[in-house]
């Protein structure tokens, strides 16, 4: 791996949230996370709830303050970027959120939502309108969608709109925060295929956050497993999802049910052997 290939490098990233209550100790969510995403690569970030996987994405986007450590994007330190610099970075770093219902403003038409980033980057009205047409076509939505409101669309269609918004200004990196978790099974696959196709066409990189190993395995070149704010394992997708080394990854894999009765029975038995006894899980 050469340094030139790296688009995003995160080194020893620490993020804390203030504790609840007066003088409560701060709650450290990320305890020194290091990872890198190469140009045109998908890094899958998998972990349970409260593992800090979403916080990594939000730190890259500048939505949470970084405690210590570095975030380098295309050779530039961005962890302390604010205001004007951050707005310029939005040309290169975009996001698709989990919930397609709350990530679109319900009172703006799809066209307004999509032209917003274009106009913010100084594009003219006519140019923005043409580009919106292209974007809708690229994510497989009808052209007349631009004049309609989000509530007229299903979850999968809304997620396509969110993807189109992320693509609008041709970013180099898209942070995908559980983008298919709220979608139905059949929709999930088509949206994932859309992500793959866009990557092939544009060479964009994804930092793909999910709790679902099957999804991560399908979309990612490499996988990083995060547990309690620390990366416990990183490796090629096939490697991590078939021969996990860390016990946490192994448990994660064994506890995800497969849609096949015999296969699941074997997996369930292995899970119970590996993981015998009640209440030994992460929960306290």
């Amino acid at each position: 791996m050469t340094k030139d290939d790296d688009l995003l490098v995160i080194e020893d990233l620490r993020v804390s949230f203030p504790g609840k209550g007066w003088r409560a100790a701060p709650n450290e969510v990320l305890k020194g996370v290091s990872l890198n995403v190469r140009r045109g690569e998908t890094l899958g970030l998998v972990g349970g709830s409260g593992s800090g996987k979403t916080t990594i994405g939000r730190a890259v986007l500048g939505l949470v303050p970084v405690g210590s450590g570095g975030i380098t994007f295309a050779g530039e330190r961005i962890e302390r970027a604010t205001g004007r610099r951050r707005r310029l970075l939005s040309r290169d770093i975009q996001v698709v959120f989990q919930d397609p219902y709350t990530s679109l403003n319900p009172s703006l038409t799809i066209g307004d939502t999509l032209s917003e980033p274009l106009r913010a980057q100084g594009q003219g009205r006519a140019g923005a309108r043409r580009r919106v047409g292209d974007l809708l076509e690229r994510v497989g939505l009808p052209a007349d969608a631009a004049s309609r409101l989000p509530r007229e669309f299903s979850g999968g269609q809304r997620q396509r709109v969110a993807i189109a918004r992320a693509l609008a200004i041709g970013p180099k990196l898209i942070v995908c925060d559980e983008p298919v978790s709220a979608l139905d099974l059949t929709t999930r696959k088509t949206v994932l295929d859309l992500f793959l196709e866009i990557q092939e066409r544009t060479g964009v990189s994804y930092l793909f956050v999910s709790h679902d190993l099957a999804v991560i395995r399908y979309i990612s070149h490499r996988v990083a497993v995060i547990h309690h704010g620390e990366i416990v394992e990183t490796g090629e997708a096939a490697e991590v999802t078939t021969r996990p080394r860390h016990p946490y990854t192994r448990n994660l894999l064994l506890s995800a049910p497969v849609a096949d009765v015999a296969g699941q029975r074997a997996r369930r038995e292995a899970f119970e052997r590996a993981y015998a006894g009640p209440n030994t899980s992460a929960e306290r």
Binding site: F97, T102, S107, T109, R217, A238, A259, D260, E283
Partner: protein, 583 residues
């Protein structure tokens, strides 16, 4: 989904049309429009100069040229009423404008920024709210002199907190919406985000609040004038009231006209505000209260062949009443059986009607929903058309329910133990100590290792998986035969899911429990279900053993569903540097 809502522009103008379609809104808007027009056209409409006095005619009754009569100084009441409205309404408009100008931007800033800005703004606002308005106005009048306009500016500042608090509250909520984050990531500046995303949300409530505050301002202004603290010489409705009140013995009728003007204006403002709220907040007329009669119960199912003893559903339809009086069917004739000691998966995607089916078995369909036809029997008892009280008893004893969101189904202000004991004491009539013993047993049964600690914990002190165990314990407390679980593990992490599913499996084996498991996850089906019913568009398209359905699906929809499962899709190949970059 089937309807095609109008585009945005039509929707926006639709709000105005909705106000006018509401008789209350139309009436109050008309009254207000007439009053405002009359006041604006005062120079044209009034019979004479409002200050033209002719002492000879004082207290003269209505007559030609003086439709409402003359006051104590012989001035024409109609003219004074028309001109007086200018000062009264103009003053109110000024006060509202000042309040808007001071309250809305401050509220936007405090709500959007939060933190110190918010704290400082709140401090100032609380101080202003603590000031007694009348006293401040009196003091101002003493210092600044008797000009009604200055007093109205002060009044505007005093009522500005009403706007501040409203706007701040809404904005603080909107600030955390994902679409605001998305706008931030899109590179929009703070002001632009506020203008585009936040103002839209506060617009409606501000319009409503404006109507209410205008009413208050008119009232306060008239009050000041009535006390004689106004501008003195110029006619206003408040001053006219004052004068009429002084002479109430000689000419009791004089009080009617300014009183009527004030009352009508204020009443129409309040009613208009109510109509605006209904229109802007999309509270249309609720669907008809009257529920269609449930169909007569089918003949007793005992002798009917092929129906399961525990739960049997035949030809169930569920419909929802629409706003326009029609009803929309969402479940079209479902047949379903659950036998004792069997876990049946009800699988489908969102909108397939699986939850509606489960809810109608429990008798907890949301407002507007009702069972249209069909028969549902639980342990041989027909429950379609059962009165609510009997249904509740059934839910307590024969049928138990586990919801999707464990946390929102526990009351945050009571301990877990109290929430487990309360229904048992109520239903079984047992003592406190006995209930406590049973609750601890139940917690142990759902594999909680420290039952005492969990018993004394509040819901926020336990994890989601633990909360789901507690709810399962609660469901088991009445020893039901049938358990209906609606996506019981969807909100949980996979490892916790595996444990909770294992627990369900164990309970089913040990207690011979019948479980109807509503889920969208075919992995969960493979893990615990004996049989599966696949639902699509309100119909069951396939039902068989889990093994059969998952390995050899017959229905094209089931096949499509299984085709979307990623379990056996190959992992993505390792990353290769892009071709042009290696050159």
């Amino acid at each position: 989904m089937s309807e095609t809502p109008p585009p945005a522009a039509a929707r926006r103008s639709g709000a105005a049309r909705r106000v006018l379609r509401n008789p209350l809104g139309l009436g109050s808007a008309l009254v207000l429009a007439v009053i405002v027009a009359a006041v604006l056209l005062a120079p044209v409409l009034s019979p004479q100069d409002p200050d033209l006095a002719s002492l000879r005619d004082s207290f003269g009754g209505p007559g030609p040229g003086h439709p409402l009569g003359l006051d104590s100084a012989g001035r024409d009441i109609a003219s004074r009423l028309l001109y007086g409205g200018r000062a009264t309404l103009g003053g109110a408009v000024l006060a509202v404008l000042v309040a808007l100008a001071a309250g809305v931007p401050a509220g936007l800033l405090a709500g959007y920024r939060g933190g110190r800005v918010d704290a400082a703004a709140n401090w100032v606002v609380n101080l202003v709210m603590a000031l007694p308005a009348m006293v401040v106005l009196l003091a101002c009048r003493a210092i600044l002199g008797p000009t009604v306009w200055v007093l109205m500016v002060v009044l505007g500042l005093l009522v500005a907190p009403a706007f501040f608090r409203l706007v701040r509250g809404i904005v603080a909520g909107v600030r955390n919406e994902l679409y605001v984050d998305a706008a931030r990531v899109s590179g929009l500046s703070g002001t632009r985000i506020v203008a585009r995303h936040v103002l839209v949300v506060v617009r409606g409530p501000i319009i409503i609040q404006t109507a209410l505050v205008a009413g208050i301002a008119i009232g306060l202004q008239a009050g000041l004038e009535f006390l004689g603290i106004g501008s003195g010489s110029a006619p206003t409705w408040g001053a006219m009231l004052n004068e009429a009140f002084k002479n109430i013995q000689r000419a009791p009728g004089m009080i009617v006209w300014p009183g009527l003007a004030l009352g009508l204006t204020n009443a129409s403002l309040v009613l208009l505000a109510a109509a605006l709220r209904d229109a802007l907040e999309d509270r249309g007329t609720p669907p008809a209260r009257r529920r269609p009669r449930p169909p007569k119960a089918a003949p007793p199912p005992g002798g009917e062949p092929g129906r399961a003893g525990l739960l049997s559903v035949r030809g169930l339809t569920v419909a929802y009443a629409l706003a326009d009086g029609r009803s929309k069917q969402v479940v079209h004739g479902v047949d379903l059986d659950v036998r004792a000691g069997e876990i049946v998966g009800l699988v489908g995607e969102s909108g397939s009607g699986k939850t509606q089916t489960a809810f109608s078995i429990l008798g907890i369909l949301p407002e507007g929903g009702h069972v249209g036809a069909g028969s549902v029997t639980v342990e041989g008892l027909e429950i379609v058309g059962l009165p609510e009280r009997a249904h509740r008893a059934l839910r307590g004893n024969a049928v138990a329910y586990i919801p999707q969101e464990p946390m929102s189904n526990l009351d945050p202000s009571f301990t877990v133990g109290a929430q487990l004991m309360e229904p048992m004491r109520h239903r079984l009539g047992i003592s406190r100590a006995e209930a406590r013993r049973r609750a601890l047993d139940l917690l142990r049964m759902v594999e909680i290792t420290e039952p005492e600690r969990v018993f004394g914990s509040y819901p926020h002190e336990i994890s989601g998986g633990m909360a789901q165990r507690v709810l399962i314990a609660g469901a088991m407390s009445c020893d039901p035969g049938l358990l209906i679980a609606d996506e019981p593990t969807t909100a949980l992490d996979v490892m916790v899911q595996a444990e909770v599913l294992g627990l369900l499996r164990r309970l089913q084996r040990e207690r011979g429990l019948g479980v109807l498991l509503v889920t969208h996850d075919l992995g969960v089906v493979a893990d615990v279900c004996d049989r599966v019913a696949v639902m699509h568009d309100g119909r069951i398209v396939e039902t068989d053993t889990a093994e059969q359905v998952l390995s050899d699906p017959r229905d094209p929809y089931t096949r499509r569903l299984l085709g979307a499962v990623l379990d056996h899709a190959p992992a993505r190949a390792p990353w290769q540097p892009a071709a042009e970059e290696t050159v």
